[in-house]
Amino acid sequence: MFDFIVGKYNYWIYIILMMIGFYAMMSKRNLIKKIIGMNIFQTAIIIFFISIAAKRGATLPILEHAHDGGEHAIEAISYINPLPHVLMLTAIVVMVATLGVALAIVLLIYKKHGTLEEDEILKKIEFQE
């Protein structure tokens, strides 16, 4: 049991972070807080990806002897997996773009309804109808 929790601590961290983000997105009434929750949610996924790339005792995947690789056999085990990092670079870009769009929309909402509290906006919408 102890092993199950501590041995896979990276997954636990990502799950806890994700749940925090999820909670904020679902139950916070303030739209900015929702966006913050969304960011935590996305960050959790990044941590997950990065952690699956890690290997114990491995180093950065920079091949020092790439030019004469014949003499120095490359052992994959001694390098961490670079691909998830690359993927996450892309994902971060997507994340930032999402954040930008979300903030722009929040600005629009503020201009239209004069508040960022979800329940107040809902009340105003109901009132309009």
Partner: protein
């Protein structure tokens, strides 16, 4: 050029999108022809791709010359070449249609609107063309982000509705990404074809199972499958007319395509039939979605919102067809991707024309619409009959395949849901027709309509796409036999 066709289909809208704002600074009026030009090129190359696939079989296009599974590969087979043509041509039609509407609804901002429009189309086309799971995620987000922005510029509570959509959509995308991560963790590959080779040895693994669940939940949010549909009606109701005509038919259809890809290409069909009973769950959700959609649609007084609920029900058709997990059912689902894309496009085009001419999308604004806008309402009549499933419109044939598939799978409840939804669609349709046909209660009996001087029809830029789609609904029905035997039967996995 033709061997580069698969990438050109996607590159044209992308490249044209970058130039559009620059062009807008210089001369606003150039944006519209520019967009049409880009989308026409994309449509032409999508048709070339389809022809190529029909003649020579599956096309593998390696981006930048990198070999799979390391490089990104575009795999164009019968399924996605067919959907590429559909997406490209519908976006072209909607672009033609948008001319007056954009000027009216977003004056001074045409350039930005069209930039986003093209980016969104790029996203849709990319999702369909790619053979790489992560690349698919990127395109999914391109399409979604452009979509959020396009919807947010709508009327009334559009920004707030978009915010909710954005939160839900981001969760969906993140779930999808998690699914990618889980599969990558156990296989080390992102290429769909490669994965389908590696995965069968790992089918006992819980990680794979969780990955599939994440994929499906993520995609289900994007396609608004019941019970994850809550964002859709608000978002598409308040969106600008041209946006809802583009997003409503295509976003959901593309998501259904992704679902089919994952269940039947990335995973072998037997995984979702025997190991994890996904199809069973999908079947039930589909039934509920269909019934919920049509019943909610019945309660609406806003035609755009009514169409949104119809869309939710139609998604049930396709998911149900996927869930039947037999040849006929999947054929029906794929055929319905096309048919439904046409029908929903037509519905929202009509809604846009009504908004443009009659000034709103409340059902009561349609009074006497048959007199005022005979052509738009004729198109509406065609799509209405198709939704009910009256031959020879295309809606009949999707039902035909789906019901035959359901008989084969002995899924009686799905048949009942399909027939019931037909009946309720009939009520819906004639509810609108009655209002538009009878007009005011104090109808002047002896008024001679032969003069026809009360006609106040939408402009030609709206009527042409509308007419084309309405005609396509009928032609797609008449030639559905040819479409199935020529294209779709190859798109269905052979071992199903």
């Amino acid at each position: 050029m033709t061997d580069q066709a698969p990438i050109l289909v996607i590159l044209f809208p992308l490249m044209f999108a970058f130039v559009t704002p620059l062009l807008g600074w210089w001369k606003k009026d150039l944006c519209y022809p520019w967009v049409l030009c880009g989308l026409s090129l994309s449509t032409i190359f999508s048709i070339i791709t389809l022809k190529e696939v029909l003649n020579t079989g599956v096309i593998h296009y390696h981006l930048g010359g990198w070999d799979p599974p390391w490089g990104i590969e575009y795999v164009i087979d019968h399924l996605n070449s067919f959907i590429l043509v559909l997406v490209a041509s519908i976006s072209l039609l909607v672009a033609i249609y948008s001319k007056r509407l954009v000027k009216e609804e977003n004056p001074e901002k045409e350039a930005y609107f069209y930039t986003l429009f093209l980016l969104q189309v790029t996203g849709f086309l990319g999702i369909v063309a790619t053979g790489d799971l992560f690349n698919l995620y990127v395109f999914l987000e391109i399409a979604s982000l452009a979509g959020y922005a396009l919807i947010a510029i709508g009327e009334g509570q559009a920004p707030f509705a978009t915010f909710r959509y954005l939160v839900m959509g981001t969760i969906g995308a993140c779930f999808y990404l998690l699914g990618v991560g889980y599969l990558y963790m156990v296989t080390g590959s992102l290429n769909m074809a490669d994965l389908s080779q590696i995965l069968p040895n790992l089918y006992h693994s819980k990680v794979v199972m969780v990955a599939l669940i994440f994929f499906l939940v993520g995609v289900a949010i994007k396609m608004a499958l019941f019970p994850l549909h809550a964002w859709l009606p608000d978002a598409y109701t308040y969106a600008p007319s041209a946006t809802s005509a583009l997003v409503a038919p295509l976003m959901t259809k593309v998501s259904v395509y992704v679902m089919i890809r994952i269940i039947y290409t990335v995973f072998k069909p037997y995984y979702s039939i025997e190991i994890l009973p996904v199809n069973l769950i999908l079947g039930w959700l589909a039934v509920i979605a269909i019934l919920y959609g049509v019943i909610m649609a019945l309660r609406q007084v806003d035609i755009k919102r009514m169409f949104c609920y119809i869309l939710i029900a139609e998604i049930g058709y396709m998911v149900g067809g996927v869930g039947l997990a037999n040849r006929l059912g999947l054929t029906g689902a794929i055929l319905h991707i096309m048919n439904d894309a046409l029908m929903i496009t037509c519905l929202f085009l009509v809604a846009g024309a009504v908004v443009y001419k009659l000034g709103g999308h409340n059902i009561n604004q349609l009074r006497d619409a048959f007199k005022k806008m005979p052509f738009s309402m004729a198109a509406f009549a065609v799509v209405g009959l198709s939704l009910i499933g009256v031959p020879p419109t295309c809606g009949f044939f999707s039902k035909w395949y789906l019901i035959l598939g359901a008989i084969e799978a002995e899924n009686w409840i799905f048949i009942v849901a399909l027939l019931l939804s037909s009946a309720i669609n009939a009520i819906l349709f004639f509810k609108i027709v009655e209002i538009a046909y009878y007009g005011e209660a104090s109808h002047d009996h002896n008024e001679d309509s032969n003069g026809g001087n009360t006609i106040d029809e939408a402009p030609v830029s709206i009527l042409i796409p509308l007419g084309v789609v309405a005609l396509a609904i009928i032609l797609a029905g008449i030639f559905s036999g040819k479409i199935v035997s020529g294209i779709i039967q190859f798109a269905v996995p052979p071992n199903l």
